[in-house]
């Protein structure tokens, strides 16, 4: 490695990105907007009003349940009607009632209660079903004159949080950093290959390791800035007081973090460096910028699905577990969760493993990427 050439390569990459305003916006502003939007949706999302229709086909034995069920539902802010079965079905069908609870004629001999929803929104209906179930338990318990014990929730790590973004924040921060750095490196290295500058560069004394290192340093710098912005945004809260007629507001998502933000930064940075090499590597297989984008479903979506961003890794089918083990993003997400939620420090073995794996992946891909830069091209 010749430091002078490395410096030239680094500065060139920086100069190029600095002039490219759309890319800068993509790097710095898009992740902030998207995490902000996601947080807003999760935190401020309205639970739609639930309305229930209780249909009693069971006569007096049904009324024993229907009465307390009705009061339990109303206690949970649910509007309750008690129509005939046919009009209840019609109401669920046209959406004017969200759930119909049908107590069957054979209720006293063990017949099952039917809960009817229209089936268009499984997630929403699952939560409605939960409300109905809870009311049913409360209703039945009070019908037999009992009382349910309250549940006290404690967690081993951190404090139980009602903040819906808390479990997602570490994963989202990791994913966005990975995604945007990959896209930018892939496209810009592809331009280097197709624009003839790589060929020309290879006709100079530059080595391919210097090229990869120069790119890693250049994009690494921007990844560093991006991660710093994103983490400050996600973890910080800045209260702006009311000025005159303008109401006060706060900037930043204020996600609680148990450990050191610097450790979180280290995890994301290692991941981003790996994304630089991945971009260089995959640009070998692309001829156009569109094809770099076409790699997203092949390379990034599986990582998104298999790295615990949305679904906990432990809940994935066991046949997919070996794939989970080789996803770099998985280690970053896990590492970030260790830092955010568990408050892990450098002495935590689980976090050490994540850091080591991410560092090894970054180095490995850098070597692989440099071998895709051959003097003997085309």
């Amino acid at each position: 490695m010749n430091p002078r050439r490395l410096r030239a390569l680094f500065l060139r990459v920086v100069q190029e990105i600095r002039r490219d305003r759309p890319s800068l916006a993509l790097l710095f502003i898009a992740p902030v907007l998207m995490t902000g939007l996601l947080t807003f949706i999760l935190r401020e999302g309205d639970t739609p009003a639930v309305s229930a229709a209780i249909v009693n086909e069971a006569g007096p034995p049904g009324s024993v349940i229907a009465g307390p069920l009705r009061s339990a539902l109303e206690a949970a802010d649910v509007t309750v009607t008690e129509p005939e079965e046919s009009s209840a079905r019609k109401a669920v069908e046209d959406g004017s009632t969200s759930v119909a609870i049908i107590l069957p004629a054979d209720l006293s001999t063990g017949g099952a209660i039917t809960v009817l929803t229209n089936g268009l929104d499984p997630t929403g209906e699952a939560s409605q079903l939960g409300v109905v179930q809870q009311a049913l338990v409360n209703g039945v318990t009070s019908a037999v004159g009992g009382r349910l014990p309250a549940i006290d929730h404690e967690t081993v790590y951190g404090v139980p949080s009602n903040d819906p973004i808390a479990p997602f924040a570490p994963a989202i921060v990791g994913f966005f950093a990975y995604f945007f750095v990959y896209i930018l490196t892939g496209v810009s290295f592809l331009r280097e290959r197709t624009g003839g500058t790589l060929e020309r560069l290879m006709a100079t004394p530059v080595t391919r390791f210097e090229v990869v290192a120069g790119y890693t340093l250049g994009f690494g710098l921007f990844a560093t800035i991006q991660v710093a912005i994103l983490l400050t945004w996600a973890l910080g809260t800045l209260h702006v007081p009311a000025i005159g007629p303008l109401p006060g507001f706060s900037i930043g998502l204020g996600v609680a973090v148990g450990g050191s933000p610097l450790l979180a930064f280290l995890v994301v940075l290692l991941l981003a460096v790996g994304a630089v090499s991945l971009g260089i590597f995959l640009s070998t297989f692309a001829r156009t910028e569109l094809q770099i984008v076409q790699f997203i479903p092949v390379v990034l979506v599986p990582q998104f699905l298999l790295s615990g961003v949305l679904f906990p890794v432990g809940s994935l089918p066991s046949i997919l577990q070996p794939l989970v083990a080789i996803m770099p993003l998985n280690y970053a997400v896990n590492g970030l969760r260790q830092v955010f939620i568990r408050g892990a420090d450098l002495g935590t073995p689980a976090l050490q493993l994540d850091l080591v794996v991410l560092a090894v992946v970054a180095v490995l891909f850098a070597v692989v990427a440099s071998f895709t830069i051959r003097r003997d091209v085309a």
Partner: protein, 254 residues
Amino acid sequence: MSPVGTATATPPPGLVPAVRAVDLVKAFGPLRAVDGVAFDLAPGRIFGLLGPNGSGKTTLIRLLTGMAHATAGRAEVLGVAMPSRANLGRIGYMTQSDGIYPALTVAENVRFFAAVYGVDTDAATRDVLALVDLSDRMTSVAGTLSGGQRRRLSLACALVHRPPILFLDEPTVGIDPLLRVQFWGHFRSLAADGTTLIVSSHVMDEADRCDELLFMRAGRVIARGTGADLRRDAGTDDLEQAFLWFAGETEAAR
């Protein structure tokens, strides 16, 4: 097969040739893009590599610059076997595509290549931009330049380290006649300073500006000599006719 024509500038024994090809072969599967090329090129002259598209000019240049590995044979530049990274510092290579960074300014492009060659001084950048007549566009972003200006910038990037050997792959493609005359003016002054130039082209009317011509066809050098020599041997006044005559001769000799 030995090239027809008179070898006028084979260096005398004892003098290291600027460029030497020894039975060079480059095969892509069954296709032999370069098929047994052998020559010595003397320093300080302009050599024209002439032939139709697909005749192997670019592949030959890539072998000589060490950008591709030969299937068989040997390429030497200034007495050093290629590929040799150390030797690349003494070679300038202007690729067929512009090979410049459109987001950088003219000066930044030149400075980048200068730094890569280890000669990044303001003077080097200024001098080479003056040479290609781009001094007034130093701060322009390269992507905003006209096609001809981009070609000149590309030439400047290949020249900035003042290499003794310069390979130019179709340097005048797509530029207007006026600029073409300017380019050949640059080439001539470089040669006068002792630089060896290897210029590929498929435009025969550029040939007379070269000191010596190598006709290429189907991966082989089918003739070599000055423009006048080749015309005389072919018995025609027209270089294009001469090329066709040599091509026919080669076919007949097979």
